[in-house]
Symmetry: C2
Subunit: 517 residues, 2 copies
């Protein structure tokens, strides 16, 4: 219980500030990265129209299955053509609803200093979410458990380049599903002070998490509904289907002004056409169907479109990630989402089973395609392996190095061209054959001139070898252990913490959430 005590000691309203990282690594300060690049656009205007029109035909001629009677009833009232669970909607209706969605919105967690803006040129990084298993250098692959879950929350909180605490970074299967959301959100709201996420996996779960976010933030219902405080992410059941709990959670969140990210999972060749633009058209159609529903029942509610379009290995059917096709699908989706004027979500993903070279090229491909597509929220940005079946702390640390490099890449200092940047006088001063280290122009800037890594080792081979010849994943393992050893939970208001504890206890007594779906 000493952890509990230290939490209270650190609490109080005065503690509501963003802390710098501990001494484990010298990391970048908290910031919201702003992507200055013009997106990479594989499609011309006709290409955008071809996918848009394809999506509109899917929605109006084939229709989407809404496996939720409330949703169907709403859409029937909206004038859509309903046949059982199949709902067809025409372009005018869809585009009118799309027009209601805000292009940007804020999300404000219990610590207001961690508020994030979703949309525009902003790019938010989210921890790996939902793997059933964990893997690390010491323990290998094993089922996720609650202790490991908390380890990942500490990494999520520790790294300033992780802006949002998304889904469970690993599924704690040692906690019963009926109360898992209570224990998980309790720890997430205590071990982190960043924006949190609710799974749309049943009414009680969504309602409980909204209640816990209110309690942790000390918010009245009115304050809660006044602006986004959290978010949910829903996935369609591709092809062409939205299931009951996802729609239920999304509608509950939207009605109370909380953001919904809609992310179809369209694997080309499996749940989607083998052609990438077809897979994107299907994904866009599924996403827009949910956008239309939510904007109809809660005009102006904050929504975002996610992409999870990749391809399978046609030899084995195994999903592939971070492929060339994945990159293009992400870029194309970016073009469509800008056409619709909403924020966009993508991911940092790989098929690799361990944090080796493959894991890095696949993850780097997906992260750079997120940059190139103008993505606003990058799910699974750190820690993902095995197509999302494994969360790895070493991979988490390694990915944060890439995320920090992306943040630095966005800084204007890397491409500024003012007179002091062109540095004519310094070039004249140093002259031919001289060295720049000693000149004032360098001395004035050297401390922050360049990205400073915390996993990369830039020493030469001999220095590296004498120091143990430690490979990247092993260095990442050490960093992960150091972070856990030094971790301090963020401050939390003691009253809020007590109320949160009481709420969890009461809901557990009541049996938590039903587990029969």
């Amino acid at each position: 219980m000493s952890e509990e005590k230290s939490r209270k000691r650190a609490g109080g309203r005065a503690g509501m500030k963003v802390r710098a990282g501990s001494a484990a690594i010298d990391q970048m300060p908290w910031r919201i990265p702003v992507n200055p690049d013009r997106p990479t656009e594989p499609l011309d205007a006709d290409g955008v129209q071809a996918i848009h029109k394809g999506a509109m035909r899917i929605l109006s001629e084939i229709g989407i299955e809404f496996l939720n009677p409330d949703a169907v009833e709403h859409l029937r009232r909206a004038g859509c053509i309903v046949n059982g669970t199949n709902v067809r909607m025409d372009e005018d209706f869809v585009m009118e609803m799309v027009g209601r969605a805000p292009s940007t919105f804020t999300m404000t967690p219990r610590n207001p200093a961690r508020e994030v803006v979703m949309g525009g040129k902003n790019m938010l990084f989210v921890n790996v979410s939902s793997p059933p298993n964990a893997w690390d250098m010491e323990r290998g692959k094993r089922s996720g458990d609650f202790e490991t879950y908390k380890e990942f929350l500490k990494l999520t909180q520790y790294f300033n380049c992780i802006h949002v605490a998304g889904g469970y970074p690993v599924e704690p299967i040692d906690v019963h599903p009926s109360v898992r959301h209570l224990d998980c959100l309790y720890e997430k709201l205590v071990l982190t002070d960043k924006v949190v996420h609710a799974y749309s996996l049943g009414t009680e779960r969504v309602e409980d998490v909204m209640e816990m976010v209110k309690i942790a933030g000390g918010l009245s219902e009115e304050e809660f509904q006044a602006k986004p405080r959290m978010f949910t992410n829903i996935n369609s059941v591709s092809p062409l289907k939205h299931d009951w709990p996802m729609l239920d959670g999304a509608m509950r969140m939207a009605k109370r002004g909380q953001p919904v990210v809609i992310t179809p999972f369209t694997l080309a060749g499996a749940m989607a056409p083998v052609t990438m633009s077809g897979a994107v058209a299907l994904s866009i159609a599924e996403a827009l169907a949910a956008v239309a529903l939510l904007e109809y029942i809660a005009p102006g509610c904050p929504v975002a479109i996610g992409t999870f379009t990749s391809n399978v290995d046609m030899k084995s059917g195994a999903p592939a990630f971070g492929t060339p096709e994945y990159m293009r699908a992400t870029q194309m989706t970016g073009q469509l989402v800008r056409f619709y004027g909403m924020p966009m979500r993508a991911s940092g993903v790989c098929a690799a089973n361990v944090p080796d070279g493959q894991s890095v090229w696949e993850t780097a491909n997906s992260l750079w395609s997120a940059v190139q597509s103008g993505t606003n929220m990058v799910y699974h940005a750190a820690g993902w392996l095995e197509g999302g079946l494994i969360a790895s702390p070493e991979k988490f640390v390694m990915d944060c190095e890439i995320l920090q490099m992306i943040q630095r890449y966005f800084e204007e200092a890397t491409y500024a061209t003012g007179p002091d940047d062109i540095a004519f006088d310094a070039i004249k001063e140093v002259g031919a054959g001289g060295h720049y280290f000693g000149v004032q122009h360098t001395q004035d800037r050297y401390q922050n001139a360049f990205y400073s890594p915390f996993v990369s080792d830039w020493r030469n081979y001999e220095a590296w070898q004498i120091d143990g010849a430690v490979w990247t994943h092993e260095r990442a393992h050490r960093v992960y252990k150091q972070i856990l050893a030094e971790f301090e939970p963020p401050p939390i208001n003691g009253d809020h913490l007590e109320e949160l504890t009481r709420f969890v206890a009461r809901r557990k007594e009541e049996g938590g959430a039903p587990t029969d779906f």
Copy 2:
């Protein structure tokens, strides 16, 4: 001598065709990748002008040291202001000379099927060049030797995604420097049939290599000069200096119509300003100084501008590669080189000592920045480690996986939006909840629908584990060994081979090249 025999058996003019890879891996066919993306441009028009004007001021007000009396004399005649070895040139002269440089040119090796076009949207990949050491999983780090040199030539030839046989993939220090170029080029011209490179490290070396390229191609002097058959790459001695042998080799090549790639090595904070645009301005000035010289003495000669602008670690002075700053410098250089209308060279580089995660994120950063900058020739695209001090066969194989992904990424199939790509009919046919594998639309396309890797392992963890839990670099090691075991040299004309052998023997008898510079 059985290798010699098999070379002859495979020879003859009828054998002059491009062979597919052997069975070691299922690789992409030979092709020249064409980059369809609009480049990423961190600079606006004013930014381009700021760097351009900075470079012009460097050239006109500070000047460049030309440590070659012939070069100085040419530039004096051209009207430049000469003070000893310092040459100042004004914008009008520089831009007039720049205007003479072709925007694209071909390079035709002994096998005409391996002809490449340098410039435009084309992107050529070149093997790692010039490391003094090799490293592999079995033998660790050791000095380069001739056997290892030949191993890397086999990889260079084997991979269809390597388009040009650049500098020595590892320096064979067991061959005396006086005759090293003879042995090295002999093997390069026999073990590969791709465009080769001459080091500008002394008159005799450059002349010998040009002669050997003529012999291997069966070319008269007139045929040789009629179009580019090879190339050289020269580096300035930054800051602000071009040395004697580089200028000598460049001028010899240019006068005979052979391409010169000019690549200053401006490490920000060491040999260049600590500010990236300043380092780029210095690099551009040094490159344009050589362009002006070459276009003055050989109007219209094929030249290209290279970038090797990166930054040092300001804590240790160690060079860093593939950093965010490196990426921006490469993109900015791309904008400037397009402004001048010449082909561009960049690199695939890293500071990592072994083929681990760091090596991949640094290399991937540099390769993607080459894509984003519109680079036409990527030096060191496969095999580089430790800032260029190590060549590694595992890294070579791993990098070729990334290069193939880039080639696939360029293919229009990944973003085509014709009616068959949007696949409305297939989406309708499969309907909600169905699967796409069985439909005709998929069956018609599945074999070539997606990139098929040769190092990446997309199996799930359990299948991967049962098969030995082999990490990426270990898989790459196996691929490298298989390729060597199966390697067959490309066919070569028997008469040309004999003449090449005689030439090398004669030049060795004459003592080769002097080694006193």
